[in-house]
């Protein structure tokens, strides 16, 4: 250690206001109150006025798509970082939810809002059931099986010519109006976002995080890992199925493209870019990625290459993501200290 060359390191300390607002004192001054609520309010209010400031019908549609991807991304983040299961098949949830909703609407004539609700629950049940065999296992099995299902279901529908075959099911009812459509989607995303943030801190959430970190300890406490994983997969797949069900009613069409790779890769990319394990990060990632992806629509499958490369770049070089970085800057200050 040379005397001329000072050894320095960066020190990070929590801001005083963060420490104060962690406790009850938060209620004592406007400054601390706003420290807590302003970021959340910016997100909520910003999201709610989005539909009002969009220039054209086309971009209003993009908001709904952002919401669908956001639901998927939040469910991916929840499964990967609070449960330890990597799902490579967001398209599977979208497809199951979408097709169920399409069949209910087309064959039974249920109105969209009913068929969306039913297909969310039923779809989530189906997804959980078919994923059940790989839940008691650790390791890569879940990723593998979720990767296979969408490929395989698309192939099956094509080969057996069921559910409309390659043409898909056309002529579905749309939402009663475009305001209803957009605000329904936005409220769902916000509801699930804050709901999940609550959930991961409840008793159930604690058990789930324990399953991720040390499953033997959970088992030693006399709790069934499979049961808890199944509950979490049910919740996550319900979000995916909800997204799928809404998607078919937005486009008034359900087809094999519901199993397209975009639905699998974009939420993962959004999660990694936005910040894994924060639940808000994926939403942020979707808000960035989906509009870019819409602008690049002309490039076709090159978009998937683009997401994949961004994903690899972020995961290798900047694995924390934007949201974690932002939170750090917000809550902490940094200074150089002499060692």
């Amino acid at each position: 250690m040379g005397t001329e060359q000072e050894q320095r390191r960066k020190e990070r300390l929590d801001r005083g206001i963060k420490v104060r607002s962690d406790g009850l004192y938060a209620l004592m001054s406007w400054r601390e109150l706003s420290y807590l609520t302003v970021p959340r309010m910016v997100l909520i209010v910003g999201f709610l006025i989005l539909p009002l400031i969009m220039p054209s019908m086309y971009w209003e549609r993009v908001i709904s798509i952002v919401c669908i991807y956001a639901l998927l991304a939040i469910s991916f983040d929840f499964m990967a970082h609070f449960l330890g299961l990597v799902s490579l098949g967001g398209a599977f949830f979208i497809g199951v939810g979408g097709y169920i909703s399409a069949v209910l609407n087309h064959s039974l004539g249920l109105p969209p809002l009913v068929s969306i609700a039913v297909s969310t629950i039923v779809g989530a049940l189906i997804c959980t059931l078919v994923l059940l065999p790989c839940l008691p296992l650790r390791g890569v099995y879940f990723a593998i099986v979720t990767l296979m299902y969408p490929l395989f279901l698309a192939r099956l529908i094509e080969a057996l010519n069921i559910l409309g075959g390659t043409d898909g099911i056309m002529g579905l009812d749309s939402f009663p109006g475009r305001w209803i459509e957009q605000y329904f989607m936005i409220l769902m995303v916000l509801g699930f976002l804050f709901g999940m943030r609550r959930l991961v801190n409840t008793d159930l959430g604690l058990v789930l995080r324990a399953v991720k970190d040390n499953d033997q300890a959970v088992r030693a406490s006399g709790m069934s890992i499979t049961f808890y994983k199944a509950i979490a997969v049910f919740i996550a797949s319900a979000m995916g199925c909800l997204g799928g069900a809404c998607l078919v009613h937005i486009y008034m069409w359900a087809g094999i493209s519901l199993f397209a790779l975009d639905f699998s890769i974009l939420p993962i990319a959004a999660t990694v870019i936005g910040g894994s394990g924060t639940l808000v990060g994926p939403l942020l990632g979707c808000l960035i990625l989906v509009p870019i992806s819409e602008l690049l629509r002309a490039f076709g499958t090159l978009r998937i290459v683009f997401y994949s490369l961004i994903l690899v770049g972020f995961i290798v070089l900047r694995s924390e993501g934007l949201m974690v970085y932002g939170q750090r800057k917000y809550h902490q200050f940094e200074r150089w200290v002499r060692v």
Binding site: P136, L137, R138, V140, F152, L261, F299, I304, I315
Partner: protein, 288 residues
């Protein structure tokens, strides 16, 4: 008899497809989701050398295998090694690389029926009254040779023994002076070259299409799971099991259901015996 012969051929095909995946997973515990992409890549490289540059067929195959091996090694050395041991990142990164390669090819316009490789030996012969072309027989022969070669390689050469040592116990291997990072790169290069070999052997029987990448990945994974992830001999035996099962389904149920076999095989294996037929992992480690 027909079932026996075609089952045998199909099984050898599956074994060829799965060996590369099994090798990489067995040695560095890396589920290589870019396996299918490497398969397609080597097909296209061979095609380019053969048709565009008009090289000798054998030479272009050898070059393609070398290039794919190097590509695999580079992918591992520069990307995957940085996320080694982080299960979530490993899966996502290798999957994203595979997708980028495959969809990149699709975008470049490599699709349709124009991309074909010639068979090695044209013509066919009647075996017990069933026509079998020479190429398929050659594939079976080469497949058997590869399995034998791998066995000798891993039992009697220094690198092979080092690879096996790492597969069995990485820390002990490190203590004995085996460079585990280097060996993982070697394993990835070998795995990629095996994917490439499967490609040049199997692609002459059909077209080179991007979709094959996904099918190959799914098949490789299902064979490996049924055989037990990380066990090479298990993968070979599982290839026979799935291969014959597929042919039986095609004969008795119809070609649509061929893919169902792979999925059902995985699900059944996971329910009944998660470590696979010959899994080396202990039941306790796997089943939490």
């Amino acid at each position: 008899m027909e079932i026996l012969i075609y089952g045998l051929i199909n099984s050898v095909n599956l074994a060829l497809i799965a060996l590369g995946f099994a090798l990489v997973y067995g040695i560095s515990r890396l589920p290589n989701f870019a396996h299918g992409a490497l398969y397609v890549v080597s097909g296209f490289i061979t095609w380019t050398f053969l048709r565009r540059l008009e090289l000798n067929y054998l030479l272009s195959i050898v070059l393609a295998l070398v290039i794919v091996g190097i590509v695999g090694a580079l992918i591992y050395r520069f990307v995957l090694i940085r996320v080694r041991g982080m299960a979530i990142s490993e899966i996502i990164a290798s999957y994203a690389i595979g997708l980028a390669i495959l969809e990149g090819f699709r975008w470049c316009g490599f699709k349709g029926l124009t991309y074909t490789l010639p068979v090695f030996v044209p013509g066919s012969v009647l075996i017990f009254g069933i026509p079998v072309d020479y190429h398929r027989m050659l594939v079976v022969g080469i497949g058997a040779a590869i399995v034998a070669f791998l066995w000798f390689f891993t039992h009697y050469t220094r690198i092979g023994l080092a690879l096996r040592g790492m597969a069995q116990d990485e820390r002990a291997a490190l203590m004995l002076g085996i460079d585990s990072d280097l060996m993982a790169v070697v394993a990835m290069a070998f795995g990629s070259a095996l994917a490439g070999l499967a490609a040049v052997l199997l692609l002459p029987l059909g077209n080179i299409v991007v979709e094959a990448g996904y099918n190959i990945l799914v098949l490789a994974i299902s064979v490996c799971i049924v055989g037990g992830l990380g066990s090479w001999m298990g993968a070979v035996l599982a290839a026979f099991l799935i291969g014959f099962a597929q042919i039986l389904t095609v004969v008795y149920l119809g070609a649509h259901y061929q893919m169902v076999v792979a999925l059902l095989a995985i699900i059944l294996t996971l329910i009944v015996r998660p470590s696979g037929l010959f899994g080396r992992q202990k039941e306790l480690e796997e089943r939490v």
